[in-house]
Symmetry: C2
């Protein structure tokens, strides 16, 4: 049995404990949804005020150069690169995940012109499959093989016909973590390229894109990276694929000489060929403030706390919420898990609504998943216990049966 004293010791010895103060966290709320929208870093307000009041209001267009606005996709990309094991010049912060995936899929397919099969996951984040269908509009001969459809596992679907494997590093529903090294090696052995979706892993564990020989990756910055609502996405292209890199969203920021205003398109060399148009500077700079927090952080320490947090949650649910029909979804071993844990329950929706009303915020994913994200930069071990205690009370007392909690609304 885990006691509150055991948990207090975990917090006392937490090397990341001081980072919690870098974030604004609302009073009386245990926020376990940083895997959907990270909280506001304290520094964000000052950063954005400086952009609005000084750079924009006072320096106006001069700020495109003077304040580095024009170079933000690359400069933020170079700051984010070490968090995912990319080299300088291999990563851009720009656009959104969907647009970036669209570009990477086109670029990857162009590198395998004689192959016409895409492998993906039926249970992957849906926008990945939706974008794949959009790419299919202009690749009439593209066939998609889905893991999970007919029971096939991903590895068995990869053969010599496969151009691209599109795969989530951490599954948004179950939290299951893929072995990036092994899968990339397997795909390369068959001559296929891999695009990694890092939305649910970036910022919460060491990632070694270059070391794995990964080809492409996309990810978002508003979850564990705390860039703010709708913060720009990122994309990675291994430098080995930079020569002749081609994608169809050929806006002026991807031009070799955008200020020549030539009517003819010529792609910029390197990763800049993956840019499209003008970027939303306020949202870009909110991310800049969020990345400052990572300056002082070792990702293996983050990962160690992450697994300790999710393990504690799983143990406490087992010890304190037994008999309430809450079932662990996804890996039992923390080494195979991202930084969120999912439980299933037929009444998952009203249970989560009741829990939120009682001050512990997770989220619900249809049809029956309760998701709990444990972001190591600001979640304490005592928060895990407090959330489990709230859940236990709701289950013990049947609070969630109140009609106030059964009404559906849009959640993200």
């Amino acid at each position: 049995m885990i006691t509150s004293t055991d948990i207090a010791i975990l917090d006392r010895d937490d090397p990341l404990a001081a980072l919690r103060d870098r974030f604004v966290l609302p009073e009386g709320v245990i926020y376990l949804d940083g895997n959907s929208l990270g909280p506001a870093p304290r520094a964000t307000r000052e950063e954005i005020t400086a952009v609005v009041e000084e750079e924009w209001a006072q320096d106006l267009i001069a700020s495109w150069n003077k304040a580095g606005w024009f170079a933000l996709p690359q400069s933020l990309g170079d700051r984010l690169a070490p968090l995912v094991g990319a080299l300088p010049g291999e990563l851009l912060v720009c656009d959104g995940v969907s647009a970036n995936l669209f570009k990477c899929l086109h670029a990857a397919l162009a590198l395998r012109p004689d192959r016409h099969v895409l492998v993906a996951e039926e249970a992957g984040f849906p926008t990945d499959l939706y974008i794949a269908s959009g790419v299919g509009q202009s690749h009439g001969d593209l066939t998609t093989r889905l893991e999970g459809r007919g029971g096939a596992d991903l590895e068995s679907l990869i053969d010599g016909d496969v151009a691209v494997v599109l795969v989530n590093h951490v599954d948004y529903k179950t939290g299951a973590l893929r072995d990036m090294h092994a899968l990339t090696r397997l795909a390369h052995g068959k001559g296929a390229l891999v695009i990694w979706d890092l939305c649910h892993s970036a910022g919460v564990m060491p990632i070694d894109l270059a070391g794995c020989g990964a080809d492409f990756a996309v990810g978002c910055t508003y979850k564990y990276l705390n860039g703010g609502p709708g913060a720009p996405g990122f994309l990675y292209v291994a430098s080995s694929h930079h020569e002749g890199l081609t994608q169809p969203l050929t806006g002026w920021w991807s031009h070799a000489d955008p200020f020549a205003f030539s009517p003819d398109y010529q792609a910029a060399p390197g990763i800049k060929a993956m840019l499209t148009g003008t970027q939303p500077i306020l949202s870009m700079r909110a991310l800049s403030a969020a990345l400052d927090v990572y300056e002082d952080v070792e990702l293996d320490v983050v990962r160690a706390k992450s697994t300790a947090l999710t393990d504690l949650f799983v143990s406490l649910i087992r010890e304190r919420c037994d008999g309430h029909g809450l079932t662990l979804v996804g890996p039992a071993d923390a080494r195979d898990r991202g930084s969120h844990v999912s439980l299933s329950h037929p009444d998952g929706f009203p249970i989560m609504q009741a829990l939120i009303a009682h001050g512990a915020v997770g989220d619900f994913r249809a049809p029956d998943i309760l998701r709990f994200g444990f972001a190591p930069l600001y979640i304490r071990f005592c928060d895990v216990e407090a959330a489990v205690e709230k859940l236990k009370e709701i289950m013990d007392q049947g609070t969630w049966r109140d009609p106030a909690f059964t009404r559906r609304s849009v959640v993200t």
Copy 2:
């Protein structure tokens, strides 16, 4: 001869004079580059602070619904719609101009499957042509006819083979204004669709998309609309084209039921089929504050002041800068002009650098164009005179020959 007294009367009688105070304008600067980046509305800071400190920091993911974040593309679209003559539900604020044009071009070509010719302008904003080339990657049989190549005018290029005409409402270099009614009618007479690029006209004159029967339009919000650096773009699709609307950037925000998380894509009905993914909320909300300024404004009054401003500038240049080799580029008649005026001069680059150093900010466009934007919401008639006086002094004294002004740097 126009006197300073004449000009003082114009300012005294300006019905828009009070609006100037709604913007932050730096001391000692005459800002004639609002056609590139509009200045910061005073209300922006408070709006963004509320988003960061209250909606994000305190309410976290609940704000996707509670604060209307999720619906911003449509709600901002409906607020922008009357400024361009669109009906509610015909306009979205999302992504950037380049991505929006990519989507509109694909959607338009899908409506004319038996035609394979695109007509555009060689002198149009280059990103339009770059995106057209990107769309061409997946439309191998698409031929582009360019106005200006071989001397042809746009109208003569439109025949029964043309699927889409892509045209700038106001030319970014010359300021020339197209007749939207006439060109749309001509194109429709040949069975072609028209996509209007409104980047240099939105917010500065009445536009009547629906009244013209326009098919598609795109535009940006960081120029005359003052949405901030890299503020999101907009796109318009006439409701007559909504049924079966299709585009390839099929991210989850364009799905008929995005929170069902179904692996199969099904486009949302209506304009929402043109969405892609999660939007940058901070930048979206800066635009919201900027649109507040337009609540009190009649666009025909804005247009009247705009033509008076550009006419005054043209007259003063003629009267006071004669003999310096500054040549008016673009229409002599204000009715054929947008809200900026361009002058050519072989030494345009150093002249503009000198002018900026002397406190009047316009911009330079290669090879020899000096651009001056006159945004009627905050530019006074006395500003026009002061800018001309500064230009006259620089030309009279040859200040621009100083080596400090000949060094090139990136400008937008």
